[in-house]
């Protein structure tokens, strides 16, 4: 099927096969489509064997970081401790709206994946943390958990195996940063959503200091298909010459594009065909200027770069960006890149949890400077100041929100510098209140002198 439009013949619908099919939402409907067979199979397997199938399949985290899922699960040992599985359904990365559709259309698919993962990591309790704005996804997933529990699929004797598998659904309250896995744990525990310093990693001390595995909605929903059909089936999707990216991936497409929506393709799909053929290319009479392919936190590509990029983890790295969360944001020739990058910076300034100074100050000043350039009040020196701030924000903080703010600024300045320069006032330089030209920021040596 597909939603909001039918699947394109070149898509590979696995997770999205039942998007738009309301019957798949109910337990009966899900079972009729083969649902919960994978969970039953997994419950009959040793957890280590489940971990190994997923490891062998090459599945990598779909939340943004791309960490190998089977490897993550294998950190969890039968040590007799309380373990938790925490599903990250906080989806708030601008450009990303795939988990929303998974939860709206196939909530049982997610619940099955969560239960299967719980078994695989020796956990008896799972939490699904859903962002506060997701009213419908929350209701659908809650209803699915209720149905599965009433049917004995979940509970103290899951599917009659004697195994305890309990799933709780938890609602967030508005904060992008809670999608960062350690902030997610703090938020669930009833704290401010500040990321934690790592180590300790969640597999050692996670929720309530107990070993915890955190996975994205899409990652967990893919797992049952792998257990059911085998690692080789999953590995067959992808470029034969790139075993590091396997399976299918949901890409959310938005911005200035003819057919926005979710598309599921096999890893290794050509980005050019994707944008122009599947998504219908630009709006009539316009041209694509730029694209951010993996959610707002990854480097911007020019239209030319989009034409040669390959859609998998390594393909996007080769193109100078990242696959990230798979949120594709398209900009056309009507857009001012300064304005839009300033708007992205404002997003990060608003969402910074403010515990690291580089991030708190860096996101705020980046926004202020970009907005004054946008408003025609920028001076030449501002561009170097932006890069110096970006440097100070990268690789120095507790989490990577800070880096994520710097990324579009640095790549935007590199690839669309002419748009920034066109807005700069050449007749002016930044001066102090006493009228003295402002010193170049620390660490910047190659500043050209500016006329006062």
């Amino acid at each position: 099927m597909g939603y909001p439009h039918p699947s394109h013949p070149r898509e590979t619908p696995v997770l999205s096969k039942y998007f738009g099919d309301a019957e798949a939402r109910t337990l009966a409907g899900w079972r009729a489509r083969g649902g919960y067979e994978a969970l039953e199979k997994a419950l009959g397997m040793d957890p280590v064997d489940v971990q190994n199938v997923v490891k062998d399949s090459g599945l990598r985290g779909r939340g943004g970081a791309g960490f190998p899922t089977g490897l993550k699960w294998s950190f969890m040992k039968p040590d007799g401790k309380q373990h938790y599985i925490l599903c990250n359904a906080d989806e708030s990365e601008p450009g990303t709206f795939k988990d929303r559709e998974i939860m709206r259309w196939t909530p049982h698919g997610l619940v099955e994946g969560v239960a299967l993962a719980a078994h695989a990591i020796y956990a008896d309790t799972a939490y699904i943390y859903i962002r506060g704005e997701f009213t419908e996804p929350y209701e659908r997933v809650t209803a699915a958990v209720r149905e599965a529990t009433a049917a004995g699929i979940l509970g103290d004797n899951a599917m009659g195996t004697g195994r305890k598998l309990v799933v709780h659904v938890h609602k967030g309250a508005g904060a992008y940063i809670c999608g960062e896995e350690t902030a997610l744990m703090n938020s669930l525990e009833g704290k401010r959503g500040n990321p934690r310093i790592k180590p300790p990693f969640p597999a050692v001390a996670g929720l309530w200091a107990k070993p915890t595995t955190i996975n994205n909605v899409e990652t967990l929903t893919a797992a049952p298909y792998i257990v059911k059909n085998g690692a080789d089936w999953y590995k067959a999707f992808g470029r034969p010459d790139n075993p590091k990216s396997t399976g299918t991936k949901l890409f959310s497409v938005c911005g200035n594009i003819a057919r926005p929506g979710n598309y599921e393709v096999a890893m290794g799909f050509p980005f050019k065909d994707f944008l122009w053929e599947l998504c219908g290319g630009p709006l009539p009479g316009r041209a694509i200027k730029a694209c951010i392919p993996g959610g707002s936190s990854v480097p911007i590509l020019t239209a030319e770069e989009c034409e040669t990029a390959i859609m998998d983890y390594e393909g996007f790295v080769a193109a100078g960006t990242m696959l990230g969360s798979g949120g594709v944001i398209v900009f056309d020739d009507q857009q001012c890149m300064v304005r839009q990058i300033a708007r992205l910076a404002r997003f990060y300034a608003h969402e910074s949890c403010a515990q690291c100074s580089q991030c708190r100050e860096g996101t705020a000043w980046t926004t202020k400077i970009l907005e004054r350039i946008r408003d025609g009040e920028g001076v030449a020196q501002d561009l170097d100041t932006l890069l110096a701030i970006a440097d100070g924000m990268t690789g120095k903080t507790i989490c990577v929100l800070s880096d994520s703010c710097a990324t579009p600024v640095v790549s935007g300045l590199k690839k669309f510098r002419h748009e920034f320069e066109a807005k700069i006032r050449p007749d002016r330089a930044r001066v102090t209140m006493q009228g003295i030209p402002v010193l170049p920021p620390l660490g910047v040596t190659a500043l050209k002198p500016v006329a006062a």
């Binding site: 601008p94 450009g95 988990d99 009213t135 309530w208 497409v253 707002s296 992205l344």
Partner: protein
């Protein structure tokens, strides 16, 4: 977060002109609500984890989270009122002031922004009579704010009114959406 010291700030809900009327505080967690809270607490190994759900219950029954309500939640969960306030102020969805009966949040983050989200904001400000972001209309019906990515970017511009999301909103559709509200 809503109240970070960030110099860039964010769209905040303004306190109404006349400070909150001081009627005697009626506790939220009695009867069925207390039972619901107890059931929620049982889902977690620590009482504190029921804090976000408890604040949601307060907001659903009272429309906002007052200082008195924070104190009540604190007592229920064996926390201090200051701790609860610290958590409330971190999350953007808890209202620390009364808001309009219809709380309208328009996403203006980049993906929606390139599709004309700012025009949608303007249309809401005009049609509701709010005039300004974060200000409640004089009839108490509406408050309009800009919000960051609602996770529905392919349906630009998504607008969240109380708990419901309206997809693909254009300025032209605004009057009809408002007219259909109860």
């Amino acid at each position: 977060m809503s109240h970070g010291p960030s110099a860039a700030g964010g769209a905040l809900v303004r306190a109404p002109e006349h400070a909150h009327a001081h009627e005697p505080y009626e506790p939220v967690f009695v009867g069925a609500m207390k039972q619901q809270l107890d059931e929620t607490v049982a889902k977690y190994p620590a009482k504190m984890a029921a804090l976000l759900p408890a604040l949601w219950m307060v907001q659903e029954s009272r429309g906002w989270v007052s200082d008195e309500a924070m104190a009540e939640v604190a007592e229920q969960l064996e926390l201090t009122p200051a701790y609860v306030k610290g958590v409330v102020t971190f999350y953007t969805m808890y209202h620390q002031h009364p808001v309009g009966r219809h709380f309208i949040q328009v996403c203006t983050t980049t993906p929606c922004n390139v599709c004309g989200a700012e025009d949608v904001v303007k249309a809401f400000l005009e049609e509701t009579g709010c005039g300004e972001l974060g200000v409640t209309s004089s009839d108490g019906k509406f408050t309009v704010i800009e919000v960051e990515c609602l996770g529905a970017c392919g349906f630009a511009t998504p607008v969240q009114i109380n708990l419901d999301v309206h997809e693909s909103v254009t300025p032209e559709r605004v009057p009809r959406i408002l007219a259909a509200l109860p």
